[in-house]
Symmetry: C2
Subunit: 111 residues, 2 copies
Amino acid sequence: MAENKEYSVKQELLAKFARALGHPARIAIMEFLAGQPNCYFGDIHEELPIAKATVSQHLTALKEAGLIQGEIETPKVKYCINKDNWTLASFLFKEFFDQPINKGSNCGCSK
Amino acid sequence: MAENKEYSVKQELLAKFARALGHPARIAIMEFLAGQPNCYFGDIHEELPIAKATVSQHLTALKEAGLIQGEIETPKVKYCINKDNWTLASFLFKEFFDQPINKGSNCGCSK
DNA sequence: AATTATGTTCGTAACTTTGCGAACAAATCG
DNA sequence: CGATTTGTTCGCAAAGTTACGAACATAATT
């Protein structure tokens, strides 16, 4: 930033992942996928308090962010976590939250 | 989930933090605040490729998510990271990404 | 060829987000 | 008091999100 006043690739990527996780349904989907050996659309839908069309939309959003992948297993559709991007997201978030926070930036307002 | 088909408090909270971080400008703001001993509105604005009205909006979004705090230091406004919630968010994201991923959930699609 | 099961896509509605310039507010400076 | 500095708020436009039911697509089954 600073000189060129643009966002870095990392900032854009982190924001993309964050945005994808920015809905409780999508958090719930990721947690469900992490814990299930078989992850069919129907099972995911059963877990959520929303219509199947909406579930499909959320799955598409997660897919577009690269966090999950789908596979047709007629007549069902199997979803799973994209491990490469999961690992990447994990790394980026950890790096983000582990950045040192300048003591002077306390502003006297955080107690 | 499952029985009641609702989102947990944790899922809602994590989604709220994720959503707040779901824009590159807000990622950039947080990174800037983390690294600066003095974090005035004007300095933040200088770093970003957007109008001040928009910067103000993003700051409000971060404030509403609890990630930052503002303090009037006339005629300027000083912003800083809310450390308690930063720590909470950090914990929630780490817990989320450190959850074990079921091997069976590979679906054969993630190689 | 109809039926069934499983999801996706379409169309729509309501709402939210992002962005900007202009107007406004508050305190200080001449 | 008028002018200046610093940010916020207002009003608006364009675009994106979330949600749903209905219609559609696909493959297996009868």
